[in-house]
Protein backbone atom coordinates (compact mmCIF):
# COMPACT_ATOMS: atom_id res chain seq x y z
CA UNK A 1 0.00 0.00 0.00
CA UNK A 2 1.50 3.34 -1.02
CA UNK A 3 1.49 6.55 0.99
CA UNK A 4 -1.27 7.96 -1.19
CA UNK A 5 -3.38 4.85 -0.64
CA UNK A 6 -2.85 5.15 3.10
CA UNK A 7 -4.02 8.74 2.98
CA UNK A 8 -7.07 7.71 0.97
CA UNK A 9 -8.02 5.29 3.72
CA UNK A 10 -7.35 7.94 6.39
CA UNK A 11 -9.44 10.46 4.49
CA UNK A 12 -12.38 8.08 4.28
CA UNK A 13 -11.97 7.29 7.98
CA UNK A 14 -12.12 11.00 8.82
CA UNK A 15 -15.22 11.46 6.67
CA UNK A 16 -16.76 8.44 8.38
CA UNK A 17 -15.99 9.99 11.78
CA UNK A 18 -17.69 13.17 10.63
CA UNK A 19 -20.82 11.44 9.37
CA UNK A 20 -21.08 9.33 12.53
CA UNK A 21 -20.54 12.25 14.91
CA UNK A 22 -22.17 15.22 13.22
CA UNK A 23 -24.65 12.75 11.76
CA UNK A 24 -26.45 12.43 15.05
CA UNK A 25 -26.28 16.22 15.51
CA UNK A 26 -28.03 16.61 12.17
CA UNK A 27 -30.44 13.82 13.02
CA UNK A 28 -31.35 15.48 16.31
CA UNK A 29 -31.78 18.80 14.51
CA UNK A 30 -34.11 17.25 11.96
CA UNK A 31 -36.13 15.45 14.64
CA UNK A 32 -36.26 18.51 16.87
CA UNK A 33 -39.63 19.91 15.78
CA UNK A 34 -41.24 16.47 15.59
CA UNK A 35 -40.02 14.90 18.81
CA UNK A 36 -40.20 17.91 21.13
CA UNK A 37 -43.47 19.68 21.54
CA UNK A 38 -42.94 22.32 24.18
CA UNK A 39 -40.11 24.59 25.26
CA UNK A 40 -38.72 22.44 28.07
CA UNK A 41 -38.60 19.41 25.77
CA UNK A 42 -37.03 21.42 22.96
CA UNK A 43 -34.31 22.58 25.35
CA UNK A 44 -33.64 19.01 26.38
CA UNK A 45 -33.36 17.86 22.77
CA UNK A 46 -31.06 20.78 21.97
CA UNK A 47 -28.87 20.09 25.00
CA UNK A 48 -28.49 16.43 24.09
CA UNK A 49 -26.05 17.61 21.45
CA UNK A 50 -25.23 20.85 23.29
CA UNK A 51 -21.78 19.98 24.63
CA UNK A 52 -20.60 18.00 21.62
CA UNK A 53 -21.99 19.41 18.37
CA UNK A 54 -19.19 21.96 17.89
CA UNK A 55 -16.42 19.40 18.25
CA UNK A 56 -18.24 17.00 15.97
CA UNK A 57 -18.59 19.58 13.22
CA UNK A 58 -14.82 20.09 13.34
CA UNK A 59 -14.31 16.69 11.72
CA UNK A 60 -15.69 18.16 8.49
CA UNK A 61 -13.02 20.84 8.64
CA UNK A 62 -10.40 18.14 9.26
CA UNK A 63 -11.70 16.23 6.24
CA UNK A 64 -11.60 19.33 4.09
CA UNK A 65 -8.11 20.11 5.33
CA UNK A 66 -6.87 16.59 4.60
CA UNK A 67 -8.36 16.81 1.13
CA UNK A 68 -6.65 20.16 0.58
CA UNK A 69 -3.24 18.93 1.70
CA UNK A 70 -3.22 15.32 0.55
CA UNK A 71 -5.32 15.46 -2.63
CA UNK A 72 -5.18 19.12 -3.70
CA UNK A 73 -6.24 18.41 -7.29
CA UNK A 74 -9.46 16.78 -6.12
CA UNK A 75 -10.01 19.62 -3.65
CA UNK A 76 -9.65 22.20 -6.39
CA UNK A 77 -11.93 20.41 -8.82
CA UNK A 78 -14.58 19.60 -6.24
CA UNK A 79 -14.82 22.91 -4.43
CA UNK A 80 -14.83 25.07 -7.53
CA UNK A 81 -16.99 22.69 -9.55
CA UNK A 82 -19.59 22.34 -6.81
CA UNK A 83 -19.27 26.00 -5.91
CA UNK A 84 -22.87 26.82 -5.16
CA UNK A 85 -23.35 23.55 -3.36
CA UNK A 86 -20.40 24.44 -1.18
CA UNK A 87 -21.75 27.95 -0.54
CA UNK A 88 -25.10 26.49 0.54
CA UNK A 89 -23.30 24.04 2.85
CA UNK A 90 -21.43 26.93 4.45
CA UNK A 91 -24.65 28.91 4.80
CA UNK A 92 -26.38 25.96 6.46
CA UNK A 93 -23.47 25.37 8.83
CA UNK A 94 -23.41 29.02 9.90
CA UNK A 95 -27.17 29.21 10.35
CA UNK A 96 -27.28 25.98 12.34
CA UNK A 97 -24.57 27.24 14.68
CA UNK A 98 -26.26 30.62 15.10
CA UNK A 99 -29.65 29.01 15.72
CA UNK A 100 -28.25 26.80 18.46
CA UNK A 101 -26.49 29.68 20.18
CA UNK A 102 -29.13 32.38 19.80
CA UNK A 103 -32.19 30.31 20.59
CA UNK A 104 -31.99 30.54 24.34
CA UNK A 105 -31.01 34.17 24.55
CA UNK A 106 -34.55 35.52 24.75
CA UNK A 107 -37.68 34.12 26.25
CA UNK A 108 -40.16 35.30 23.66
CA UNK A 109 -41.87 32.31 22.01
CA UNK A 110 -41.62 33.97 18.58
CA UNK A 111 -37.85 34.26 18.91
CA UNK A 112 -37.45 30.65 19.98
CA UNK A 113 -39.80 29.37 17.30
CA UNK A 114 -37.81 31.22 14.66
CA UNK A 115 -34.50 29.74 15.70
CA UNK A 116 -36.04 26.31 16.14
CA UNK A 117 -37.11 26.40 12.50
CA UNK A 118 -33.70 27.64 11.39
CA UNK A 119 -32.03 24.84 13.37
CA UNK A 120 -34.26 22.21 11.82
CA UNK A 121 -34.22 23.50 8.24
CA UNK A 122 -30.44 23.95 8.23
CA UNK A 123 -29.99 20.40 9.55
CA UNK A 124 -32.21 19.01 6.78
CA UNK A 125 -30.44 21.13 4.20
CA UNK A 126 -26.99 20.00 5.33
CA UNK A 127 -27.94 16.32 5.27
CA UNK A 128 -29.47 16.74 1.81
CA UNK A 129 -26.57 18.74 0.36
CA UNK A 130 -23.93 16.35 1.65
CA UNK A 131 -25.92 13.41 0.30
CA UNK A 132 -26.32 15.06 -3.10
CA UNK A 133 -22.59 15.79 -3.22
CA UNK A 134 -21.82 12.19 -2.35
CA UNK A 135 -24.27 10.98 -4.97
CA UNK A 136 -22.50 13.06 -7.58
CA UNK A 137 -19.12 11.67 -6.57
CA UNK A 138 -20.49 8.15 -6.96
CA UNK A 139 -22.18 8.75 -10.31
CA UNK A 140 -19.30 10.70 -11.78
CA UNK A 141 -18.91 14.35 -12.73
CA UNK A 142 -18.13 16.06 -16.05
CA UNK A 143 -14.41 16.24 -15.37
CA UNK A 144 -12.33 17.59 -18.21
CA UNK A 145 -8.74 16.77 -19.02
CA UNK A 146 -7.57 20.00 -17.42
CA UNK A 147 -9.04 18.85 -14.11
CA UNK A 148 -11.95 21.25 -14.09
CA UNK A 149 -15.53 20.25 -13.68
CA UNK A 150 -17.70 21.61 -16.42
CA UNK A 151 -21.09 22.28 -14.95
CA UNK A 152 -23.70 24.31 -16.76
CA UNK A 153 -25.62 25.23 -13.67
CA UNK A 154 -26.19 23.82 -10.23
CA UNK A 155 -29.25 22.03 -11.62
CA UNK A 156 -26.91 19.66 -13.41
CA UNK A 157 -25.88 18.37 -10.00
CA UNK A 158 -29.47 17.76 -8.96
CA UNK A 159 -30.15 14.72 -11.11
CA UNK A 160 -32.43 11.95 -9.78
CA UNK A 161 -29.72 9.62 -8.50
CA UNK A 162 -27.95 12.35 -6.52
CA UNK A 163 -31.26 13.55 -5.10
CA UNK A 164 -32.09 9.99 -4.05
CA UNK A 165 -28.76 9.65 -2.24
CA UNK A 166 -29.59 12.96 -0.54
CA UNK A 167 -32.90 11.53 0.67
CA UNK A 168 -31.12 8.32 1.77
CA UNK A 169 -28.70 10.40 3.82
CA UNK A 170 -31.60 12.22 5.47
CA UNK A 171 -33.27 8.91 6.33
CA UNK A 172 -30.05 7.39 7.65
CA UNK A 173 -29.22 10.38 9.84
CA UNK A 174 -32.79 10.69 11.14
CA UNK A 175 -32.50 7.12 12.39
CA UNK A 176 -29.00 7.68 13.79
CA UNK A 177 -30.11 10.86 15.57
CA UNK A 178 -33.20 9.13 16.96
CA UNK A 179 -31.08 6.33 18.43
CA UNK A 180 -28.89 8.97 20.06
CA UNK A 181 -31.87 10.86 21.45
CA UNK A 182 -33.17 7.58 22.81
CA UNK A 183 -29.98 7.37 24.88
CA UNK A 184 -30.14 10.93 26.13
CA UNK A 185 -33.78 11.49 27.00
CA UNK A 186 -36.25 10.02 29.42
CA UNK A 187 -39.95 9.95 30.17
CA UNK A 188 -42.54 11.05 27.63
CA UNK A 189 -39.97 12.57 25.31
CA UNK A 190 -38.04 9.31 25.09
CA UNK A 191 -41.24 7.37 24.57
CA UNK A 192 -42.12 9.59 21.62
CA UNK A 193 -38.65 9.14 20.12
CA UNK A 194 -38.84 5.38 20.62
CA UNK A 195 -42.14 5.43 18.78
CA UNK A 196 -40.47 7.06 15.81
CA UNK A 197 -37.57 4.62 15.56
CA UNK A 198 -39.37 1.62 14.04
CA UNK A 199 -40.87 3.83 11.32
CA UNK A 200 -37.46 5.34 10.61
CA UNK A 201 -35.92 1.87 10.40
CA UNK A 202 -38.46 0.81 7.80
CA UNK A 203 -38.08 4.08 5.88
CA UNK A 204 -34.32 3.79 5.78
CA UNK A 205 -34.46 0.11 4.83
CA UNK A 206 -36.66 0.87 1.85
CA UNK A 207 -34.94 4.06 0.71
CA UNK A 208 -31.46 2.63 1.27
CA UNK A 209 -32.41 -0.60 -0.43
CA UNK A 210 -33.52 1.27 -3.54
CA UNK A 211 -30.26 3.23 -3.50
CA UNK A 212 -28.21 0.04 -3.21
CA UNK A 213 -30.03 -1.60 -6.10
CA UNK A 214 -29.74 1.57 -8.17
CA UNK A 215 -25.95 1.67 -7.65
CA UNK A 216 -25.58 -2.01 -8.40
CA UNK A 217 -27.59 -1.79 -11.61
CA UNK A 218 -26.51 1.55 -13.06
CA UNK A 219 -23.23 1.73 -14.92
CA UNK A 220 -21.41 4.08 -12.61
CA UNK A 221 -18.21 2.12 -12.43
CA UNK A 222 -18.31 1.84 -8.67
CA UNK A 223 -19.15 -1.82 -8.86
CA UNK A 224 -16.01 -2.71 -10.83
CA UNK A 225 -13.98 -3.32 -7.68
CA UNK A 226 -16.60 -5.79 -6.55
CA UNK A 227 -16.42 -7.67 -9.81
CA UNK A 228 -12.62 -7.77 -9.88
CA UNK A 229 -11.86 -8.80 -6.30
CA UNK A 230 -13.79 -10.86 -3.82
CA UNK A 231 -12.69 -9.44 -0.49
CA UNK A 232 -14.30 -5.96 -0.69
CA UNK A 233 -17.70 -7.67 -0.42
CA UNK A 234 -17.03 -7.81 3.32
CA UNK A 235 -17.95 -4.12 3.60
CA UNK A 236 -21.53 -4.21 2.32
CA UNK A 237 -22.09 -7.46 4.19
CA UNK A 238 -20.78 -5.86 7.40
CA UNK A 239 -23.08 -2.88 6.80
CA UNK A 240 -26.07 -5.17 6.44
CA UNK A 241 -25.09 -7.15 9.55
CA UNK A 242 -24.68 -3.90 11.51
CA UNK A 243 -28.15 -2.82 10.38
CA UNK A 244 -29.71 -6.07 11.55
CA UNK A 245 -27.80 -5.97 14.85
CA UNK A 246 -29.01 -2.40 15.38
CA UNK A 247 -32.65 -3.42 14.96
CA UNK A 248 -32.26 -6.46 17.21
CA UNK A 249 -30.45 -4.48 19.91
CA UNK A 250 -33.09 -1.77 19.89
CA UNK A 251 -35.92 -4.25 20.24
CA UNK A 252 -34.13 -5.85 23.16
CA UNK A 253 -33.76 -2.50 24.88
CA UNK A 254 -29.97 -2.48 24.48
CA UNK A 255 -29.93 1.19 23.50
CA UNK A 256 -26.18 1.83 23.67
CA UNK A 257 -25.45 -1.21 21.51
CA UNK A 258 -28.09 -0.07 19.02
CA UNK A 259 -26.46 3.34 18.69
CA UNK A 260 -23.00 1.85 18.23
CA UNK A 261 -24.35 -0.57 15.64
CA UNK A 262 -25.82 2.35 13.73
CA UNK A 263 -22.41 4.05 13.84
CA UNK A 264 -20.73 0.89 12.61
CA UNK A 265 -23.27 0.64 9.81
CA UNK A 266 -22.52 4.18 8.67
CA UNK A 267 -18.79 3.47 8.70
CA UNK A 268 -19.28 0.26 6.69
CA UNK A 269 -21.54 1.99 4.16
CA UNK A 270 -18.85 4.59 3.55
CA UNK A 271 -16.25 1.85 3.30
CA UNK A 272 -18.44 0.10 0.73
CA UNK A 273 -18.71 3.23 -1.38
CA UNK A 274 -15.03 4.09 -1.18
CA UNK A 275 -13.90 0.53 -1.95
CA UNK A 276 -16.06 0.83 -5.04
CA UNK A 277 -14.63 4.22 -5.92
CA UNK A 278 -10.99 3.22 -5.42
CA UNK A 279 -8.64 3.93 -7.12
CA UNK A 280 -10.70 6.81 -8.47
CA UNK A 281 -11.52 9.76 -6.31
CA UNK A 282 -13.47 11.78 -8.85
CA UNK A 283 -14.67 9.88 -11.83
CA UNK A 284 -15.12 11.69 -15.10
CA UNK A 285 -18.39 11.09 -16.86
CA UNK A 286 -17.00 12.64 -20.03
CA UNK A 287 -14.06 10.28 -20.47
CA UNK A 288 -12.90 7.72 -17.87
CA UNK A 289 -9.26 8.47 -18.67
CA UNK A 290 -9.70 11.97 -17.27
CA UNK A 291 -10.66 10.62 -13.85
CA UNK A 292 -8.74 11.71 -10.81
CA UNK A 293 -7.24 8.72 -9.07
CA UNK A 294 -5.56 8.35 -5.72
CA UNK A 295 -2.16 8.29 -7.41
CA UNK A 296 -2.52 11.08 -9.95
CA UNK A 297 -4.33 13.49 -7.63
CA UNK A 298 -2.21 13.18 -4.53
CA UNK A 299 0.36 15.61 -3.24
CA UNK A 300 4.09 14.91 -3.23
CA UNK A 301 5.25 12.11 -0.98
CA UNK A 302 7.22 14.55 1.19
CA UNK A 303 3.99 16.38 1.95
CA UNK A 304 2.16 13.14 2.67
CA UNK A 305 4.93 11.97 4.99
CA UNK A 306 4.91 15.17 7.02
CA UNK A 307 1.11 15.05 7.19
CA UNK A 308 1.24 11.44 8.35
CA UNK A 309 3.55 12.29 11.23
CA UNK A 310 1.30 15.17 12.30
CA UNK A 311 -1.82 13.02 11.96
CA UNK A 312 -0.40 10.13 13.95
CA UNK A 313 0.33 12.55 16.80
CA UNK A 314 -2.77 14.69 16.50
CA UNK A 315 -5.68 12.40 15.70
CA UNK A 316 -5.36 10.26 18.86
CA UNK A 317 -5.63 13.47 20.93
CA UNK A 318 -8.75 14.51 19.05
CA UNK A 319 -10.32 11.08 19.54
CA UNK A 320 -9.37 11.22 23.21
CA UNK A 321 -11.06 14.50 23.94
CA UNK A 322 -14.08 13.60 21.80
CA UNK A 323 -14.57 10.44 23.82
CA UNK A 324 -13.80 12.37 26.99
CA UNK A 325 -16.51 14.96 26.41
CA UNK A 326 -19.05 12.27 25.52
CA UNK A 327 -18.15 10.45 28.74
CA UNK A 328 -18.30 13.63 30.82
CA UNK A 329 -21.82 14.34 29.60
CA UNK A 330 -22.98 10.74 29.60
CA UNK A 331 -26.41 9.72 30.69
CA UNK A 332 -29.67 11.58 30.37
CA UNK A 333 -29.74 15.29 29.68
CA UNK A 334 -29.95 17.46 32.78
CA UNK A 335 -30.70 21.13 32.27
CA UNK A 336 -28.41 23.41 34.24
CA UNK A 337 -28.11 27.23 34.32
CA UNK A 338 -25.32 26.94 31.77
CA UNK A 339 -27.33 24.89 29.27
CA UNK A 340 -28.58 26.23 25.97
Amino acid sequence: MSLADLWFVLFIAIIAAYVILDGFDLGVGMLHPFAAKEDAERRIVLNSIGPVWDGNEVWLVVGGGVLFAAFPVVYAALFSGFYWGLMLVLLSLILRAVAIEFRGKRERPGWRALWDSVFSVSSFSLAMLLGVAFGNVISGVPLKKSGDIEIGSILDLLHPFALWIGVTTIAMLLLHGALYLNLKTEGDLQARVRGWIPRLVVAFAIIGGVAAVWIAVAEYGVTDTYRDDVWPIVFPIAALVAFVVMVVMFRRGRDVAAFFSSSAMIAMLLATASAGLYPNMLRSSIEPKFSMTVSNASAASETLTVMLIVAVIGIPFVLLYTAGVQYLFRGKVKLTPSSY
Binding site: A76, R106, E150, V256
Partner: protein
Amino acid sequence: MPRWLLWTCISTVFLAEVATIAGWWTAEVGRQPWIVWNVLRTADAVSPTLSTGQVLASLIMFAVLYALLLVLFLFLLDRKIKHGPAPLEPEGPASLPDTFREVFSRRSQARASGELEVEENVAG
Protein backbone atom coordinates in the same frame (compact mmCIF):
# COMPACT_ATOMS: atom_id res chain seq x y z
CA MET B 1 -10.64 56.27 36.99
CA PRO B 2 -10.54 59.50 34.93
CA ARG B 3 -13.16 59.68 32.16
CA TRP B 4 -10.63 60.22 29.38
CA LEU B 5 -9.00 56.92 30.29
CA LEU B 6 -12.37 55.17 30.20
CA TRP B 7 -13.07 56.56 26.74
CA THR B 8 -9.62 55.43 25.60
CA CYS B 9 -10.39 51.93 26.80
CA ILE B 10 -13.61 51.89 24.78
CA SER B 11 -11.83 53.16 21.68
CA THR B 12 -9.29 50.34 21.84
CA VAL B 13 -12.05 47.88 20.91
CA PHE B 14 -12.50 49.61 17.56
CA LEU B 15 -8.84 50.49 17.12
CA ALA B 16 -7.86 46.84 17.48
CA GLU B 17 -10.30 45.94 14.71
CA VAL B 18 -8.95 48.75 12.52
CA ALA B 19 -5.39 47.57 13.13
CA THR B 20 -6.27 43.98 12.19
CA ILE B 21 -8.05 44.98 8.98
CA ALA B 22 -5.27 47.40 8.06
CA GLY B 23 -2.70 44.64 8.49
CA TRP B 24 -4.66 42.19 6.33
CA TRP B 25 -5.28 44.86 3.70
CA THR B 26 -1.55 45.59 3.51
CA ALA B 27 -0.67 41.93 3.13
CA GLU B 28 -3.37 41.00 0.62
CA VAL B 29 -3.41 44.10 -1.57
CA GLY B 30 0.32 44.68 -1.28
CA ARG B 31 1.07 41.21 -2.54
CA GLN B 32 -0.80 41.74 -5.83
CA PRO B 33 -0.41 40.81 -8.64
CA TRP B 34 1.12 37.76 -6.99
CA ILE B 35 -0.80 35.24 -4.92
CA VAL B 36 2.43 33.48 -4.00
CA TRP B 37 5.16 36.12 -4.15
CA ASN B 38 7.26 35.78 -7.28
CA VAL B 39 5.94 32.25 -7.84
CA LEU B 40 2.31 32.38 -8.93
CA ARG B 41 0.17 35.22 -10.21
CA THR B 42 -3.35 35.66 -8.91
CA ALA B 43 -4.75 35.67 -12.44
CA ASP B 44 -3.23 32.21 -13.05
CA ALA B 45 -4.53 30.79 -9.77
CA VAL B 46 -8.21 31.49 -10.34
CA SER B 47 -10.49 28.49 -10.98
CA PRO B 48 -11.33 28.43 -14.69
CA THR B 49 -14.86 27.20 -14.12
CA LEU B 50 -15.84 30.01 -11.78
CA SER B 51 -17.55 33.05 -13.21
CA THR B 52 -17.26 36.52 -11.75
CA GLY B 53 -21.00 36.50 -11.20
CA GLN B 54 -20.82 33.40 -9.00
CA VAL B 55 -18.07 34.84 -6.85
CA LEU B 56 -19.81 38.19 -6.56
CA ALA B 57 -23.10 36.56 -5.63
CA SER B 58 -21.51 34.43 -2.92
CA LEU B 59 -19.61 37.44 -1.59
CA ILE B 60 -22.88 39.39 -1.36
CA MET B 61 -24.50 36.42 0.38
CA PHE B 62 -21.81 36.41 3.05
CA ALA B 63 -21.86 40.19 3.44
CA VAL B 64 -25.63 40.19 3.98
CA LEU B 65 -25.43 37.24 6.36
CA TYR B 66 -22.67 38.80 8.43
CA ALA B 67 -24.44 42.17 8.52
CA LEU B 68 -27.57 40.44 9.77
CA LEU B 69 -25.61 38.54 12.41
CA LEU B 70 -23.88 41.74 13.51
CA VAL B 71 -27.23 43.49 13.98
CA LEU B 72 -28.61 40.51 15.92
CA PHE B 73 -25.48 40.32 18.05
CA LEU B 74 -25.54 44.02 18.90
CA PHE B 75 -29.25 43.77 19.68
CA LEU B 76 -28.76 40.86 22.06
CA LEU B 77 -25.69 42.41 23.63
CA ASP B 78 -27.55 45.67 24.20
CA ARG B 79 -30.41 43.85 25.95
CA LYS B 80 -27.98 41.88 28.06
CA ILE B 81 -26.14 45.02 29.17
CA LYS B 82 -29.39 46.79 30.01
CA HIS B 83 -30.56 43.75 31.93
CA GLY B 84 -27.50 43.77 34.13
CA PRO B 85 -25.72 40.74 35.59
CA ALA B 86 -27.77 37.67 36.37
CA PRO B 87 -28.61 37.16 40.06
CA LEU B 88 -26.65 34.52 41.92
CA GLU B 89 -28.58 31.31 41.81
CA PRO B 90 -28.33 28.52 44.34
CA GLU B 91 -26.41 25.54 43.02
CA GLY B 92 -28.73 23.24 41.08
CA PRO B 93 -29.12 19.64 42.20
CA ALA B 94 -27.26 18.27 39.19
CA SER B 95 -24.04 20.22 38.78
CA LEU B 96 -21.62 18.93 36.22
CA PRO B 97 -18.07 17.95 37.25
CA ASP B 98 -15.33 20.19 35.91
CA THR B 99 -12.31 17.91 35.85
CA PHE B 100 -11.70 14.23 35.31
CA ARG B 101 -10.50 13.98 38.91
CA GLU B 102 -13.86 15.28 40.05
CA VAL B 103 -15.64 12.79 37.84
CA PHE B 104 -13.82 9.83 39.30
CA SER B 105 -13.81 11.02 42.91
CA ARG B 106 -17.54 11.65 42.78
CA ARG B 107 -18.23 8.22 41.43
CA SER B 108 -16.10 6.49 44.07
CA GLN B 109 -17.68 8.58 46.83
CA ALA B 110 -21.14 7.81 45.59
CA ARG B 111 -20.38 4.14 45.26
CA ALA B 112 -18.85 4.01 48.73
CA SER B 113 -21.88 5.64 50.30
CA GLY B 114 -24.13 3.26 48.42
CA GLU B 115 -25.94 5.99 46.47
CA LEU B 116 -24.75 5.00 43.04
CA GLU B 117 -27.06 2.59 41.28
CA VAL B 118 -25.42 0.15 38.97
CA GLU B 119 -26.18 1.70 35.59
CA GLU B 120 -26.12 -0.81 32.79
CA ASN B 121 -26.76 1.53 29.95
CA VAL B 122 -24.00 4.04 30.62
CA ALA B 123 -21.96 4.61 27.46
CA GLY B 124 -18.34 3.49 27.96
